[in-house]
Amino acid sequence: METPSRSFNGPYVIVGVALLAVAAITVWDASTMRIRAQYGVGADAASYLIAGFLVLLAAGHFIGAFRKSDDLDAEPTDWRAIGWIALALTGLVSAIGLGAGFILGSTLLFAFTARAFGRRALLVDLLIGAALAVLVYFLFHGLLTLHLPEGPLERLL
């Protein structure tokens, strides 16, 4: 629970730290560059410039964190819904990563996303998702010869 009386803005501190970390990685990366430009400036110049910019912004966040701020996010998030979408995306990535194909991955993606938005009829949604995925596969793979990841299902079609 966010309490308005809190003395500083927590998310700002986290973002500030993250910006510093990203700046540090960027500087480290730039320092390992071997290829130098023969004329003009090299590829590392932009890295250093942006790292400097990030450090400035981090400082801005730290200062902002201790100011009274009006715009702290007050709206609570329904983490269960987020969890379902995370599951939907995991289903997609693992289906394609493990070679189970586009149709299965998309079906899971569709059904779990619908679940996140409060649908309870998972079986119906799985069927709708599968129908949509097959339709898309036929339209784009069949008609336009677009290559989509294939699994056992696609090879049957």
Binding site: R34, I35, R36, Q38, Y39, T145, H147, R155, L156, L157
Partner: protein, 320 residues
């Protein structure tokens, strides 16, 4: 349903064939173009697709674009997944050889099976028509006089264009690492820099700048091909006393573990493809030059080419 029946029948057919009459079997190619739509490798892959189907050597063929890192992403994926499947093909070329070296790619062309070198485009060295440079010797002299002030335009750093600019600078007696080469995302943008008079000279595939050369907006000084080419007025660097040759070749590779028998069948298929009228017409239409070399010679060529590319990239500081 119909498709299912067909593929089952097809599979049965294939089994029956591989038992005996192997030579009559048609391929079902899956060609990986290790670049996005619109590029040279994509064009080559789609040309193979077209001609192989048109000449009846393949029942079907599909092109899959796997773009990334000068083709090394596509190469890595191909080497890992193609196994011994004779239907899997990969398109590649000299740029991929360079990218493997400069990106220190863990997968190299040793891990796939060279089938045929197909096309070889000459690179052309040009100056804007308003330039005072008239011949390749003038350009060498300019580079000798002021190597930093002689600005070259061409495709991305470490690519064939860059290598040629470095080799010519070296032939002028200067350190190739000192070449002031401005890289553009492709021949198109570099062309604009040439026409705008922002650079001294430019390097690109001949076909890309053919229109401007014929219209007289650009003056072609030399081509990088070893021999003169019919229809191209510019003479080879070698014929003009500059001992440099570099051809932007494109080739096709098969899966890592294809059997000797499959390799022979693929070689025969490409041999037949390059001698078909369809292929010859396509080469003319695309402005490509035939540079066919069958599998065994190509393997030897590839080894030599890899070493010379490595040498240039090391001189440029792009490889260890």
């Amino acid at each position: 349903m119909h498709k299912l029946v067909k593929s089952v029948l097809g599979a049965g057919f294939a089994v029956a064939l591989s038992a005996g009459i192997a030579s009559a079997q048609e391929f079902e190619f899956n060609i990986i173009a290790p670049a996005g739509a619109g590029g040279g490798w994509d064009g080559a892959a789609r040309s193979i697709q077209e001609v192989m189907v048109a000449t009846g050597q393949a029942r079907s063929a599909q092109v899959v674009n796997v773009p990334g890192a000068g083709g090394t992403v596509g190469l890595a994926q191909f080497a890992a997944s193609a196994g011994a499947d004779p239907n899997q093909l990969l398109v590649g070329g000299i740029t991929m050889v360079g990218a493997i070296i400069s990106n220190a790619s863990p997968v190299s062309l040793d891990q796939v099976t060279p089938i045929a070198r197909l096309t070889g485009d000459p690179l052309v060295v040009v100056v804007p028509s308003s330039s005072s440079i008239q011949t390749i010797d003038d350009l060498l002299a300019a580079a000798k006089a002021d190597v930093g002030g002689t600005i070259w335009a061409g495709g991305s750093a470490g690519g064939a264009d860059h290598m040629l600019a470095a080799l010519i600078t070296e032939a002028a007696g200067e350190d190739p690492a000192k070449v002031n080469y401005v890289a553009y995302s492709g021949g198109g943008e570099a062309l604009a820099a040439m026409l705008g008079g922002q650079v001294t000279a430019g390097v690109s595939g001949y076909g890309e700048w053919q229109g401007q050369i014929e219209s007289g907006d650009l003056r072609a000084l030399a081509i990088s091909y070893p021999d003169p080419i019919e229809g191209i007025e510019a003479q080879p660097l070698k014929a003009q006393g500059v001992d440099v040759e570099l051809v932007n070749w494109r080739a096709v590779f098969a899966a890592p573990d294809v059997s000797d028998e499959d390799k022979a069948r693929l070689s025969a298929a490409f041999d037949a493809m390059v001698s078909s009228d369809e292929w010859k017409e396509l080469l003319v239409a695309r402005g490509w030059t035939d540079y066919y070399m069958p599998a065994d010679e190509f393997s030897a060529f590839l080894e030599k080419e890899t070493e010379s590319v490595r040498g240039v990239l090391q001189a440029l500081g792009l490889a260890q």
